[in-house]
Amino acid sequence: MSAIATPFPESWKLPYRGKVAMAGLIIGEAAIFTIFVVAYLFYVGKSLSGPTPAEVLETPIFFTICLLSSSLTVHLASKALERGKRASFLGMWLSTIVLGGLFLFGTAQEWHRLIYEHGLTVCTHSTSPPA
């Protein structure tokens, strides 16, 4: 076949399959969560008995910073690993774990408050009392 082909590109480089697959996975996940968000938006504020989001939800600024910066630290960690900088990698990696752990703790705290103090569960709905 190479006898016929016009000289093919010297470097035949295609996107790395791992990246393509991750992109595909993220698209799929985004679609699933979009549906959940639509359901949430459809029902938000429609509860007659339960608390409204405005009453009980607070923007978790600190824990959001933790979560988002853990993306940065893990990125820096993988770059350090690529360059073989062990100490740097360890530092970033452990920071990621700490930040992620803080976020999980904050989320657990928030859910505990919502469920036990405000009675806000998945059962809370328009006309029915919290089950």
């Binding site: 082909a5 295609l14 393509v20 698209i27 799929g28 359901a39 569960t121 328009s126």
Partner: protein, 557 residues
């Protein structure tokens, strides 16, 4: 490199025990083996879904029939729809993709072989789970039973209040599990097509079928996922006290409908687009011409993929949306008919001026063209929303979608079987049995599905286990049932052909059809590594270039 690709001799000892062979098949990650497993499993579910269809048809053979009870009938139509869509058509299309896509792009395997195997087994497990419901459903009377809420499981019928016991849970879980398998395979196909093409195969040089599978896989990612999300919410309703779709507690039945059809409509395009792929390859080879208007075919497919995400509520014209919403969905539905129609014209354009060989793959594809045209037009009829206020939920719709799925997709699949069976097995399928299959199936198909439109026009709703005499439905239903049995016989002949030709079929060689894409350059069946050396291509039809060095495609593309 010559047209007959160098093949290293298979070092395959024939003295393995059957247990070792079984183990090999159960643990394989080879795309060709997994492709065959998908196809065999789909054929098995075809027989189950087909039996359910025959039970439905016998019950409806005349008014006030008593062949099965209403409870059994309702399970039959639910299981028939669920089986055929999720455990027959989807897997068989993934099976063909698995087998052919790496070969067509000159790759050694799919991008992620183990994910491939995992996805297949998830899919298969889903099917087993669904059928286990017959034994384990623990319905109201203690006996096991299968889901009976229709394949859409509309709310609130699918919720705890109206569907006690576990039959609906089997529906939900089976589809959730196999849905994740479908997502896995879709990701795999996309990664394979994007990252594993052989040198020289730019996106604009891929066989059209590969493009179509790329679009189909992208659609799977955004179509199956809404169903998974909705089913998770249904499970929350059924088990964790949620009320998403529980209308007695303020939940919304219409929300389920929207979520289901946001999945359901793109899903039917997911089913039909690979069929377009088979037909494009086959019509091209058997008309002895390249596909007419390749770039437009690609663009039209992408357009179909995009527009089809905006038409879903044409399944909901009767639910009482306001006139603006109804008008919106009417126009988007009519609009999606434009790129679809363009494809039909391009296929005719491919045949035009050609030298048509009426071999079996081509016969089935000609049937496809004729029937898909009709199916598309009855779709346009229903896009006229007020007309759909009569046609919806009647046998007209049932006739329409079977026209697409059986008259379109199944015919294309049969064509694909006759075309690629020689590649996978090294033997040709029997022409004689094939012609019996084709003509019997054609006659049975038209007897059933042409006539089925009429009871719909005469007011017969769907999903009814019996009907009143004197409405003009009786004779038509009888003839429809007879056609169903004729189709069943034709399929038995087909399955027999698949089996007997494996041993007795004429030897095929690498390229029995004088075709042009890369899979025909390797042996039949291909060795486990597919290609001894990595192919390098310069056009869409690398084998044409090799066979016609004086007039290669690369000069014109």
């Amino acid at each position: 490199m010559s047209a007959n690709a160098m093949v290293l001799e298979n070092v395959q000892s024939s003295d393995r025990t059957w247990l070792e062979t079984l183990h090999e098949w159960l643990t394989t990650v080879d795309h060709k083996r997994l492709g065959i497993l998908y196809i065999l499993s789909a054929l098995w579910f075809l027989s189950l879904g087909g039996a359910e269809a025959l039970i439905i048809r016998i019950q409806l053979i005349h008014a006030h029939n008593n062949f099965v009870s209403p409870q059994v009938f309702n399970r039959m139509f639910t299981m028939h729809g669920t089986t055929m869509i999720f455990f027959m058509v989807m897997p068989i299309l993934f099976g063909f993709a698995n087998y052919l896509v790496p070969l067509m792009i000159g790759a050694r395997d799919m991008a992620f072989p183990r994910l491939n195997a995992f996805s297949f087994w998830l899919s298969f497990l889903g099917g087993l789970l669904l059928y286990f419901s017959f034994l384990g459903g623990s319905g109201l009377y203690g006996a096991g039973n299968a889901p009976d809420v229709g394949w859409w499981a509309y709310a609130p019928l699918g919720g705890r209040a109206f569907s006690p016991g576990h039959s609906s849970d089997y529906w939900t879980l089976a589809l959730l599990v196999s849905g994740f398998g479908s997502i896995g395979t879709a990701i795999n196909i996309i990664a394979t097509i994007v990252s594993m093409r052989c040198p020289g195969m730019k996106l604009s040089r891929m066989p059209l079928m590969v493009w179509l599978y790329l679009v189909m896989s992208g659609m799977v990612l955004i179509a199956i996922t809404p169903l998974s999300a909705a089913q998770i919410m249904l499970l929350i309703d059924r088990y964790l006290g949620g009320h998403f779709f529980d209308t007695q507690a303020g939940g919304s039945a219409v929300l389920w409908m929207h979520f289901f059809w946001i999945f359901g409509h793109p899903e039917v395009y997911v089913l039909v687009i690979p069929a377009f792929g088979f037909v494009s390859e086959i019509i091209s080879v058997f008309s002895r011409k390249p596909i007419f208007g390749y770039p437009v075919m690609v663009a039209a497919t992408v357009a179909i993929g995009l527009v089809s995400t905006s038409v879903w509520a044409h399944h909901m014209f009767t639910i009482g949306m306001n006139s603006y919403a109804n008008s919106f969905f009417a126009i988007t539905t009519m609009a999606v008919g434009v790129p679809t129609g363009i494809k039909i014209f391009n296929w005719i354009g491919t045949m035009w001026g050609g030298k048509i060989q009426f071999k079996l793959p081509m016969l089935f594809c000609i049937g496809f063209l004729f029937q898909f045209l009709i199916a598309g037009l009855t779709g346009i009829l229903q896009a006229a929303a007020p007309f759909d206020w009569q046609l919806s939920l009647s046998y007209f719709v049932v006739a329409h979608f079977h026209y697409v799925i059986v008259g379109g997709i199944m015919f294309a699949l049969f064509g694909a079987f006759y075309y690629w069976y020689p590649k996978t097995s090294g033997r040709m399928l029997s022409e004689k049995l094939g012609r019996w299959h084709f003509w019997l199936f054609l006659i049975g198909f038209h007897l059933t599905f042409d006539l089925m439109h009429i009871p719909g026009l005469l007011g017969m709703p769907r999903r009814i286990y019996t009907y009143e005499p004197g409405r003009g439905w009786d004779t038509l239903n009888l003839l429809v049932t007879i056609g169903a049995f004729i189709q069943a016989v034709a399929i038995l002949i087909f399955v027999w052909n698949l089996i007997i030709s494996y041993w007795k079929g004429e030897k095929a060689g690498n390229d029995p059809w004088d075709a042009w894409t890369l899979e025909w350059s390797t042996s039949s069946p291909p060795p486990s590594y597919n290609f001894a050396t990595v192919p390098v291509v310069a056009s869409r039809r690398p084998l044409w270039d090799l066979k016609h060095p004086e007039d290669p495609d690369s000069r014109y593309e």
